[in-house]
């Protein structure tokens, strides 16, 4: 299983962005190296199809994200976006527009509060996504704490 290791503050920044833009979708770039994400860079959602259920990173912002990744000494690893009042699972629209090899982090924002966060990777044959292992997100909705005995 592929994995995303979110560095300090990354998950919190994604959650904050999703809550700020609610009920609209937020989006941003994930920068780091190998499978470790060190920076989440917020980008404008430029969709013209209704930002409550769509996001679009235009080519000029994509280029800016690649340049920023280089400037930070890392690579562009992928993108994040929010699903307002919807589960953190990729839609058919996500699948139709996905790029290979990228980390796709999705955070569900329910009634304005960020909940489950997941990460997905496009299968090589583009037939579906594989869910990855997301580390570094302390939110209890994503990683239920073990019950304490004693």
């Amino acid at each position: 299983m592929r994995r995303s290791d979110l560095g300090p503050g990354v998950a919190a920044a994604i959650r904050r962005h999703g809550e700020e833009t609610f009920p609209h979708e937020c989006c941003g770039a994930l920068i780091g190296r190998d499978d470790r994400v060190t920076h989440a860079v917020a980008l404008p959602n430029t969709t013209e199809e209704g930002p409550r259920r769509r996001f679009l990173v235009r080519p000029s912002d994509y280029q800016m994200a690649e340049k920023q990744a280089s400037a930070l000494g890392g690579e562009l690893l992928g993108f994040y976006h929010s699903h307002p009042d919807h589960p953190a699972r990729p839609s058919q629209f996500d699948l139709d527009h996905a790029w290979p090899n990228f980390h796709y982090v999705i955070v569900s924002v329910m009634a304005g509060v960020s909940k489950v966060m997941t990460v997905w990777f496009l299968k090589e044959d583009r037939s579906s996504f594989d869910e990855g292992e997301l580390n570094g997100d302390e939110n209890p909705d994503s990683h239920p704490a073990a019950s304490v005995h004693g």
């Binding site: 979708e25 989006c27 969709t47 199809e49 259920r53 769509r54 996001f55 679009l56 990173v57 235009r58 080519p59 994509y62 280029q63 690649e66 990744a69 690579e75 562009l76 993108f79 976006h81 699903h83 307002p84 009042d85 919807h86 990729p90 839609s91 629209f93 996500d94 527009h97 996905a98 790029w99 290979p100 090899n101 990228f102 796709y104 044959d125 583009r126």
Partner: protein
Amino acid sequence: MATKILIPTPLRPYTDKQEAVEASGATIGELLTDLTTRHPGLKAHLYNEQGKLRSFVNLYLNDEDIRYLQKEATPVSASDTLSIIPSVAGGSR
């Protein structure tokens, strides 16, 4: 005649991790045919099942979006640079 093509990060695994490669052709269409022949892994991610360029694949000849030129019939020369630049899109439903 070889023209330089800039490859975005998610497609570099199909070009031996190279950021820039070369391909030959008199038009952008010919260039892309040569590119996907040399690097077959690119094809499924640039073209849909109908053989059309995917809508979120943007091609810029130097700094011009080819949609505003002659699209895939746009002539190219060795001094040109073709950039493949993604749009990234998605949504909850």
